[in-house]
Subunit: 143 residues, 12 copies
Amino acid sequence: MKMILVIHGPNLDLLGKREPAIYGKVTLTEINRALRKAAKKHKVTLKIVQSNHEGEIVDLIGKSRNKFCGLLINPAAYTHTSVAIRDAISGSGILAVEVHLSNIHRREEFRRQSLISAVVSGTVMGFGAKSYTLGLSALLDLL
Amino acid sequence: MKMILVIHGPNLDLLGKREPAIYGKVTLTEINRALRKAAKKHKVTLKIVQSNHEGEIVDLIGKSRNKFCGLLINPAAYTHTSVAIRDAISGSGILAVEVHLSNIHRREEFRRQSLISAVVSGTVMGFGAKSYTLGLSALLDLL
Amino acid sequence: MKMILVIHGPNLDLLGKREPAIYGKVTLTEINRALRKAAKKHKVTLKIVQSNHEGEIVDLIGKSRNKFCGLLINPAAYTHTSVAIRDAISGSGILAVEVHLSNIHRREEFRRQSLISAVVSGTVMGFGAKSYTLGLSALLDLL
Amino acid sequence: MKMILVIHGPNLDLLGKREPAIYGKVTLTEINRALRKAAKKHKVTLKIVQSNHEGEIVDLIGKSRNKFCGLLINPAAYTHTSVAIRDAISGSGILAVEVHLSNIHRREEFRRQSLISAVVSGTVMGFGAKSYTLGLSALLDLL
Amino acid sequence: MKMILVIHGPNLDLLGKREPAIYGKVTLTEINRALRKAAKKHKVTLKIVQSNHEGEIVDLIGKSRNKFCGLLINPAAYTHTSVAIRDAISGSGILAVEVHLSNIHRREEFRRQSLISAVVSGTVMGFGAKSYTLGLSALLDLL
Amino acid sequence: MKMILVIHGPNLDLLGKREPAIYGKVTLTEINRALRKAAKKHKVTLKIVQSNHEGEIVDLIGKSRNKFCGLLINPAAYTHTSVAIRDAISGSGILAVEVHLSNIHRREEFRRQSLISAVVSGTVMGFGAKSYTLGLSALLDLL
Amino acid sequence: MKMILVIHGPNLDLLGKREPAIYGKVTLTEINRALRKAAKKHKVTLKIVQSNHEGEIVDLIGKSRNKFCGLLINPAAYTHTSVAIRDAISGSGILAVEVHLSNIHRREEFRRQSLISAVVSGTVMGFGAKSYTLGLSALLDLL
Amino acid sequence: MKMILVIHGPNLDLLGKREPAIYGKVTLTEINRALRKAAKKHKVTLKIVQSNHEGEIVDLIGKSRNKFCGLLINPAAYTHTSVAIRDAISGSGILAVEVHLSNIHRREEFRRQSLISAVVSGTVMGFGAKSYTLGLSALLDLL
Amino acid sequence: MKMILVIHGPNLDLLGKREPAIYGKVTLTEINRALRKAAKKHKVTLKIVQSNHEGEIVDLIGKSRNKFCGLLINPAAYTHTSVAIRDAISGSGILAVEVHLSNIHRREEFRRQSLISAVVSGTVMGFGAKSYTLGLSALLDLL
Amino acid sequence: MKMILVIHGPNLDLLGKREPAIYGKVTLTEINRALRKAAKKHKVTLKIVQSNHEGEIVDLIGKSRNKFCGLLINPAAYTHTSVAIRDAISGSGILAVEVHLSNIHRREEFRRQSLISAVVSGTVMGFGAKSYTLGLSALLDLL
Amino acid sequence: MKMILVIHGPNLDLLGKREPAIYGKVTLTEINRALRKAAKKHKVTLKIVQSNHEGEIVDLIGKSRNKFCGLLINPAAYTHTSVAIRDAISGSGILAVEVHLSNIHRREEFRRQSLISAVVSGTVMGFGAKSYTLGLSALLDLL
Amino acid sequence: MKMILVIHGPNLDLLGKREPAIYGKVTLTEINRALRKAAKKHKVTLKIVQSNHEGEIVDLIGKSRNKFCGLLINPAAYTHTSVAIRDAISGSGILAVEVHLSNIHRREEFRRQSLISAVVSGTVMGFGAKSYTLGLSALLDLL
């Protein structure tokens, strides 16, 4: 059975509590439940991790090589600053899809550039929690 | 029955013939067929237009006000140069989703900025023809 | 009797409906009525056109040469992107005045630069519909 | 009876003598006469001041609060360098209109940016002495 | 017999009348006559179009695929702003040569960058009407 | 007994009246009272000046040499534009502390750079009137 | 009894040993002693943490929500590179004050921009160890 | 007898006391004495003014029109920020020479650009007090 | 009989051997032969020089004044760095045409700017060896 | 016996597997073996660490003070983003040499700037695994 | 007897013939005659060289070490492009003065930056041939 | 027997005399001796040239094609300005290594960019004379 790695970047554990005007009221638990439900339908297994640590995320992706056939990642704040995560994705050669809850082009200037976009297959953003399930669907379609 | 306006921007009529290394081999006719099929399942009607004319696209969106409940747009080359289409979307107040076949962040520098992204609800890009059906699904979800 | 060409750029047909917080509630019909009334007092005739098409606006100005003695133009979104309209104005040698409903310096960064300003005699902006009648008055004064 | 404050910025006392190719031959005395005549027609009183001192202009605007109902200002060279005048205008909450004799977009690069435009209601420029009377008319219209 | 498509961009219909100090006194009719004469000598046929409409030019190039073996284009003002025409040229795969009457590097800053140059085989500029016949000669040589 | 020079820059006389959403409701008189009270406790005397004139502030600092042992300055709008005040501070060799009522990094782009910061010992900003007493305390500590 | 979280960013454990010309000779232990003494006077408790790990700092702030009523942070090197810490502060909604030992505007170019300043209430910098006690005082004042 | 206006900009009254490592130990009194001595030899009279006020310098130059035949100016800090002094010089049409004690290209970045240089005949800088007498000699030569 | 100076800039002696993917397989000897043949037909004589030395090229152009009636130059690498060659061309007043084998806009960023273009009559680029004969033809046409 | 600290930055554990076109086929184990062999010859001991965690690397360097006499570091992705590692190196005062497998100037734009270079003694890059032994040799030479 | 090296940079041999509107009608021979006359009065000998070759100028300065006590240089076009001449001047440790005939701040953008200014004692520019004699006088004064 | 070309760029003949704080006290003769000694050990012959002339260096590299199997170059000042040397290296196809005595990233801004780095195999910098022998060792390793 296929395994997909799902990574939630920094501060996403605060979801539902943190700035709901921007990120909505859905919690991370609810998003994960929706993801697992969708995964079940497509007969894939998910390994879901949330981490505030750039190094931890790099570790995970670096070791994903033979264990996972795809990566669904919301790099959150590291979208704009992490060359290390970028290198981990392109280095591992894993098929990856980037998702964002909010439309990053409607926010501050420094959030409009993504270091990650250039090493993933595609991006889905701006649809709140729905971005995740659309991203998973796109990822499965690419496999 | 709900009506959705689908706009294909300049040069998309060449799809399947034009630079397949970047845009894939799928033709516009095939994309439209897939869109209509998905629309049928969700019980919405689509009006699909392809145009190379910025002014024509502005006209269409300006008049969409009371006729359509959503807009699915691939602005193609106008993504990077048209303030007029941007103004038409924000002026009409229509719910809009932007799609791109390719991942614009993997291409030339001048293609990495979108004037349109800031006025749509969300963006789906990089999944070839699949970007359209994911975008339609996201749009219906927002309605 | 003198003839003046008045051009309303893209999306101005939406006036009164579109983002009233920025553009006010006055419609284009009301602005045109006010313009014609003022024209009558000064004994000039107006030809008024609204177009969303850059090429159409270029056509109009290119052919204005011997027909009109002045141009009153609100280039709207094309203010920031059209070298073609700029060339048409400077190429036709027509006396031109640029007007804007809103104060473009109070809006987004990309709206603060005008490609048109450098080829007109003067600019009036920020006074809503009143910008038009002041602009017409200035234009007649220059003739 | 309504009182309007009119401020002429640095070097405008040289008008008519200084670089007539750019600023025309009209003197400041003639402009003031035309302004007073227009004011009379609209039944408002004008207080007119010319100053080369940034601090003096800031003083004047700061104390204008309850004395004047509007400000007509040609900030001249301070247009491009004075955050203090900008703050005085936005701090005093007075209704303000900015005027320029010349079209600043047809001049040197550093004159094309205005620190003042973002805190006034509107701007009139490029019509020589006529810019002042149009600006006064616009200001009265806003009151 | 070989067919070549010749496109004259916006405002070139004004040639000979418009700013002769920059563009010379030759009219478009005279340029076309010279082109047809040169074409005759080389036994090729020309289809010549002048258009102020970006979309129209995109349409023409998009449909040129199997009809023409080469494109001679003076994109005029669209040189600096049209990603759509750029995409049309590279998408159609047609062999193209860009010409300009004036030396764009001797003009305003914003005219010194060409979006088109990167998708054509070569460029000829600065020789007035002669640029066209040299460009046609270069194009025929490449065929 | 030690003497400290306190300088309030342009428009600070409007405090409490001007844009209270940004600057709070405290007046300059109240700030000065708090400063004098704190000074008394530390047994130092204050000379407090408010000026809208850049030149006047330069005069004051230039003459402060042997009269004062420290400078507490809120340069307000001149923070971003005055090389002359910067030179006066570094030229006089006086120990200086810069204060701001608001956090300048939460405001417009052009307010985020300070020409003054590089010539003072330290900066306190964002605590409203409290910034002044903290700044005074820091200054006394450095003496 | 109120609890305040104090975070010392990367390399601050080297304080007193590292580049004393810039950071002074005071050690982190001495600073913490001074902070605890001041806290005692104001009857608040401090939790003090030093960490070189961006993720650890994000963890701490993310979990500070209901445990602490204020945050005193010297983000050190992360001042200039961490969007994640910025998001943690604004996401947790905690009242925060930023401190720096040195005046960052007197150092290298890349140290003059702070990603953190825009999400804290205020900043105190340039007074060595004293910056911390002033910052604590300001923080308590805001509570 | 010819009259020359000599203007010393802000903070130059501190000369000899202020940062001698950069500006040398010569005082303004000594420079003025050397200037008067040189003037005497050339049979011209000097009017020498030092001012910290931008507006005052603008006043002086504006009124210099028929009184002086040349201007020798060290604009000091206003070199980099004053469009008003620039306009006063070019507006008065007076023949002007700019001098600097230090070589501004060996100092901070923001001191390397002069707003004044483009409106004077020539510049002498880097020779300490000697810059003034060389500048005077150059000015007399131009007369 | 008319004399034309032809200058080949640095590294062009390597032609045919150096990076044929960019510059083609034609050698400099073959290009010169083609140029002489074309010159013969037009009854002009050519003096052809290849040099890797900027100073040598400046010498040649500086002394070309009364000896040559036109200059055909491929400045190669000096296109992007030599103000001296630019000054030599504009200083000598010679009629000049710039040629490039490759289309410089399809290459690295730093090759897309030409210091030379602004001082020549026109430019021909992108047609390999053919650029030279077209350039010669254009030059003769201008004479 | 002298001790040298060797740090391999993020993703270097993937070496030999990750993008061999850029990084070669040598694995980290092989590099370490070569390093140890070279160390033995020079009679120094190596402590070798690979880490994906910025904070861990900062910890290591901060604690290296009295334990190691030199640092050989390949900061990999952190080369371009880590001010914290930069501060750790300059703060610890350790003698450091930076190495890179690839020539970073032949890669993407954002990889061409190194935050680390300014705080190390020297840099060796572009020679694959050989960069490490050359770097070690250089480091020993400096001791 | 003291020896001074005088270097005239590229194209200065054309003086008097080349663009007299910018550089005046004086020839290099006349300038040299004036320099020798002034030198005689001050009892110094001049070695005067004009060269179009950057390398030659570097050679000359590199070998000037023990032969000359001062350098008077007009680097002309190399002012803006030569790091090698800059290094030669700072490396030789010779006392140098830079002169320019024209005021470089009144010319094209790229001529407004000097790579040389930061390594000379001072600069004289804008006074035509007089710049040289003033520069020589300043140089002798510094010796 | 293998032949290596060693090129020392401009001003390196001054080594040992010129700014020893930056470049050390070793002379070029000593460096060459060390290089020849190392070459002998590896059984290769060196041809060593120092030149201040860009063109001469281009000549040398252009003619190195069949004579040398490797190039060791310290381009000195030309590192930052010479596209011609860059083209010569990439055009000749020779295997090249770039060395610098000093760490260019610790010096002035304009010295931090190398036009040469992108066309060599690797770079060694910051180790004084040792950079050369390490560079030679790296070069031999690549052969």
